[in-house]
């Protein structure tokens, strides 16, 4: 499967790899948001009509457009807010409790 991480976790081998000073390079993302979720959005591709609403309205941009009709959720950064499932008119996204996945 494609790696959906927009920015791979930077490797720190020594202290000198940690950015110094009050600024750092853009898109320097060191940790994920995955543990924020209580409910996880699960996509049923047979119901998806490719309306793009989930991809458009995700506040975290965690739903990636792979193709005009193929959308994938980056569970490393999805916070489980449920906007995608709420906006999905055909009901292709359902929110499932994390321990029941």
């Amino acid at each position: 499967m494609k790696d959906f991480k927009m920015s791979p976790r930077p490797l720190w081998k020594s202290l000198s790899d940690v950015p110094m000073g009050s600024s750092c390079s853009s898109f320097h993302i060191c940790d994920t948001n995955a543990a924020w979720r209580v409910f996880r959005p699960v996509m049923d591709y047979s119901l998806c009509i490719g309306c793009h609403q989930c991809y458009l309205l995700c506040p975290d941009g965690a739903i990636h457009k792979e193709d005009a009709k193929v959308f994938r959720i980056d569970y490393d950064f999805c916070k489980g807010c449920g906007i995608c499932a709420n906006q999905c008119k055909p009901g292709a996204i359902s929110m499932v409790k994390e321990d029941q996945v």
Binding site: S26, I29, Q53, D60, K79, A85
Partner: protein, 297 residues
């Protein structure tokens, strides 16, 4: 003719990613959508506020763009300074954008915004309006609407939340004779995308005021953020308008407003309101619309 933007033809690249905003944050959605149009070459200025707090967490950097945290009062001053710097460096099509919340725009940052618009420099200012100072713990701002409970205007026995009305920030920005000003809502994302595109194309200062619900501050479920932002336009409590070439224009004129009570009761900050206050809110809305329809057509 500029190509109309929609969900299908916007840039698939993300410029705002891995930030630590609350789940269902409306403000981060507005920022993400705006950056899809502005592109990664835009230089961003953000004052102390939610969006600075969630994206610049050392050693994380959630922006792909160059971005800087400005003093609270000087978002627009820093943005125009960056624009001047980019021009001095000989950059082609320099683009400097300021993103501030409602407090950073209508209260604390209003003088620098006014000065920057007055100087007529090319920059874009986007005000993400969540109707209180959310980052510091939900205090009332100049854009808090009538009746909303915040920590500094709590809903008590005698006084039921905020007693003042929302400042007309869009009209204030337009009154400078600005090149382009618009209001938007994340409930109408395509409309917002095209307004950002217009602001990018226009030659001079541009101001966009976008309505962004905040699940933490307003006390609503994180999944209904976009629903609320759509409803607020349908109930007439917020409006979609533009100011261009010295003329105001309403983008959406609802024939019948949806009931205000249902919309307000979905948010904990309005749950204490009595029938009388809801009628008062409806009267304020009708007065505002009467004026807008008369003057802006």
């Amino acid at each position: 003719m500029i190509k109309k933007l929609n969900a299908r033809n916007i840039d698939a690249k993300e410029c705002f990613y891995g930030h630590k905003a609350c789940g269902g944050c409306g403000e981060s959605l507005a920022l993400r959508l705006a950056l899809k149009v502005l592109g990664e070459e835009a230089y961003l200025s953000l004052p102390a506020g939610c969006m600075a707090a969630v994206s610049f967490i050392y050693p994380n950097m959630a922006f792909k763009n160059n971005a800087v945290i400005t003093p609270f009062a000087s978002t627009a001053a820093v943005a125009t300074g960056i624009a001047a710097g980019l021009e001095a460096l000989g950059k082609e099509a320099p683009l400097s954008v300021g993103f501030a919340g409602d407090g950073g725009t209508a209260d604390i940052g209003i003088q620098s915004l006014s000065g920057a618009i007055d100087r007529g420099e090319k920059f874009i200012y986007i005000c993400t309006d969540n109707e209180a100072y959310m980052n510091t713990g939900i205090q009332k701002s100049g854009l808090t609407p009538f009746g909303a409970a915040t920590t500094t205007t709590p809903a008590g026995k005698a006084i039921h939340g905020c007693v003042t009305e929302k400042k007309n920030m869009f009209e204030i920005a337009a009154a400078h004779g600005i090149s382009y000003a618009a209001t938007a809502s994340i409930g109408y994302p395509e409309d917002f995308l095209n307004k950002v595109q217009k602001a990018k194309e226009c030659d001079g200062p541009a101001y966009i005021h976008i309505y962004t619900p905040c699940p933490t501050g307003w006390g609503h479920g994180s999944e209904i953020t976009v629903d609320l932002a759509k409803e607020v336009v349908d109930t007439g409590l917020w409006f979609l308008a533009e100011y261009e070439n010295g003329e105001f224009r309403l983008n959406k004129k609802p024939e019948n407003f949806k009931p205000v009570a249902d919309h307000l009761k979905r948010q904990a900050r309005f749950r204490h309101l009595s029938e009388i206050e809801i009628t008062q809110i409806e009267e304020m809305r009708d007065r505002k619309w009467e004026k807008m329809l008369k003057n802006w057509g």
